[in-house]
Symmetry: C2
Subunit: 465 residues, 2 copies
């Protein structure tokens, strides 16, 4: 029972023995490593897997899944561990499949604007690889997440308003299913009407249907020109109304991010900026020199119509980088407001017509709850986060945070929105999924049972079987 | 057995009796009407359903599905009958659900750029409805198809390069499943990571998983300016290379369509144009006045680099309409080349880097086969059609057409393309789906069995169970 010491059941112990025999040192049982693999960056308690395996090829994944399946051992895919709803927690024990060694960019097809990658490639690594080709991949969640993980959680980021989320940018996947079947979900054609859309079924399935072992992603040519802008508004409504107007006019914004005054304050302190303490939009325009100038001018005029003051825009690379670095550091800026705290980022998304109302009610609720939570949003999509900074040792405060998040989700649902715009369900939002989808969840359950009858693929996530 | 005269089995007869009792005259049994409902616009033989029902609400669809399910009676959704691969043929008998009376635009959310419609609304009807609001819906297959049918076949058209296909433009669906469950696949948020993507599972499922009873679609603001352009090239390769370059540069083309010289000849004759007899691009640009001018200029320069001559562009509405009407009439122009013939439009789609090669080989194959078939393509997507005009009474010619299409599909697959870019599988491409997806088809079959265990939803389409 050399490999079985940590196993929760005899069956799992047998699986671990067999995996160890097959993969040697690449099967790791060290407690610290297992603990690290059972915990993500969210507020939920982690649960360590019984073992961690670093596959180096899809064939090895097939083998590992086969061994696990034979022994009823759960399989939990692991990218960079930057998920936020407990996605990597080994709730029923099991094997963590860490894709850190499957991190090769396999093939760039520059003419076709697509790329094949292994799932462990991170978004920054990919863009580094593409830089000299004049190409880029736009989806940019806060963390430098793995592309496999980003596909699994249907992640997005600041560029979604122009370039879409992982939903729009995954052309095809290779995956290993619970019974060891290896499937490719689509070919490289830009569009297809050939059968059920297996690609989109797996994107967002959080490892509960199959393990992603390869991705084909859409790429974009680096725009000739990029300009960024900042504009503050006297009210949240003004800022949001300016966004609505801009989007309705069809101005092809690349990014449009909202920070409330609390978030602006946090960013000013953390990133040493001197932004006006007011609801503020960060914007970015991509296109030709002329188009970028025209877009900035149009948005500047719209902003002025809604009380926006002091519309500043720039094409200077350093200024742009400083602005967006501050935006990407927004979460750290929040955390710095309260040293020693943990982050609990909420993630609702509503139709944009309801966004101002939703944020306003949420701000009021937040003030009444006595919680600390700056608001930052991908406002072009109707998606915003309250980044709660919570003292996890204070159970009363944690309860208040939980109750606040629950009210927020139900507020969004009542506005025809979703409980998660880009973080996913994990095991933190199981009940919210039911509240959102109703009978649809029974359909999801039918699919889960059909493809993973023994519930070994990341069990306990997305839905209860 | 009043309603049972045409029924293929006793069970079906009982279903028809019960449906007739419940729905009265809206259940139609007339032979001519049934024949019309069993046949689409493609080359495949039709099979009339046993009865046709015109539901007026989702509740009625639930009832009808319930009655059919209780008697094992197949259900075949029917929009406008403009599919091309036998999608509406009642291969095992059954009830045709004609959505002609569920054709209301339910709710336009102008601020959110979305609209809720019943499945029988056609694309032209929707755009007529939207005109005064300054909004439009871009997906435009040749026919004035129903939006339910377009979602079911994952249709696209000439605008896909800019605005995407039905895959990108359906935000949410309501559907009735085989067991009568009524599900809504998503809410109106622009993005969501909440659970499995049921919307995309149903888009393209061709009525084999459930019946679509409502759609929420994305809308777009009418661009400030639109300009169209025509440019001919000495070679197909030159035309396609110009397209690749344009797309790589990120020029946001709205439309880019390729016609080979045979198609240009057909269009000239049919639509009384005087285009140069050479491979030709039809283009359209959407944006601001300045952006449209800049785009046309950029593309004009690229075209010149690849031998394109005489780049003409216009913003005059009448000229634009004349050009695109000619493009939409391309299929009729083909048919007119050979009076009395039937159309057999092929539909492969390949990565754009392989497009010139694929078209060149196909042209050679076509010439050697002695078949008549102009080529027209949504070249920005890598999708092109050979519109074979065939004498259906000549079995040798039909065999040659079939063999040609088979070679074409396998050519596209060998280039990492798909057997169908936008027409779907129906019952005409079942074997091609297997050739394309391999093990993926077994996954599709698992899903089909899980959601429709008795195989009553449009049986015999997409896959063999």
């Amino acid at each position: 029972m050399r490999y079985g010491v940590e196993a929760t059941t005899k069956q799992h112990a047998s699986a671990i023995t067999e995996l160890g025999r097959r993969f040697g040192k690449r099967l790791c049982l060290a407690a610290a490593l297992r603990a690290q693999h059972g915990h993500d960056e969210g507020h939920l308690p982690g649960t360590p897997p019984e073992a961690v395996f670093y596959p180096e090829s899809t064939d090895e994944v097939v083998e590992a899944v086969g061994i696990c399946a034979a022994h009823g051992m759960p399989i939990i895919p692991f990218g960079t561990g930057t998920s936020l709803e407990g996605h990597v927690a080994a709730l029923s024990g099991g094997l963590s499949l860490d894709f850190g060694r499957m991190n090769r960019v396999l093939q760039v097809n520059a003419e076709d604007l697509d790329v094949r990658v292994e799932p462990g490639v991170t978004r920054k690594q990919l863009n580094q690889h593409l830089r000299d080709l004049g190409l880029f991949f736009p989806v940019d969640p806060g963390a430098d997440a793995s592309l496999g993980g980003m596909a699994a959680t249907r992640a997005s980021g600041t560029n979604a308003v122009r370039y879409g989320t992982m939903r729009e940018n995954v052309l095809s996947l290779e995956a290993v299913m619970a019974d060891g079947r290896r499937v490719r979900t689509a070919r490289r054609a830009r569009k297809s009407s050939a059968g059920y859309d297996l690609t989109h079924l797996l994107v967002g399935s959080e490892g509960t249907l199959g393990v992603i072992t390869e991705l084909t992603l859409r790429l974009y040519g680096m725009p000739e020109a990029m300009s960024s802008a900042v504009c503050s508004f006297p009210t949240l409504d003004g800022a949001v109304d300016a966004v609505i107007q801009t989007i309705q006019l069809g101005v092809p914004l690349a990014r449009i991010e909202l920070l409330d005054e609390v978030q602006v304050d946090a960013v000013n302190r953390y990133s040493h900026l001197e932004l006006t303490l007011a609801p503020t939009l960060f914007l970015e325009f991509h296109g030709t020199e002329a188009a970028v100038r025209e877009q900035a001018q149009t948005v500047g005029e719209i902003a002025a119509d809604f009380g926006g003051g002091d519309f500043k825009w720039t094409t200077v690379q350093e200024e742009r980088t400083r602005l967006w670095q501050a935006r990407h550091d927004a979460a750290y800026a929040c955390k710095a407001l309260r040293p020693g705290s943990d982050m609990w980022p909420t993630d609702v998304c509503v139709p944009i017509s309801r966004l101002a109302e939703c944020i306003r009610q949420t701000r009021t609720d937040l003030d009444q709850s006595g919680l600390i939570g700056p608001i930052v949003g991908h406002v072009g999509d109707g998606n915003f986060h309250v980044v709660l900074v919570v003292d996890s040792s204070d159970t009363a405060e944690v309860d208040r945070a939980r109750a606040f998040n629950e009210r927020l989700v139900h507020r969004a649902l009542s506005m025809d929105g979703t409980c998660t715009g880009e973080h996913g369900i994990g095991y933190g939002k199981l009940d919210f999924l039911v509240a959102e989808h109703g009978e649809g969840v029974s359909l999801m359950r039918d699919i889960k049972r059909a493809l993973d009858p023994n519930n070994i693929m990341n069990p306990g996530k997305v839905l209860r079987v």
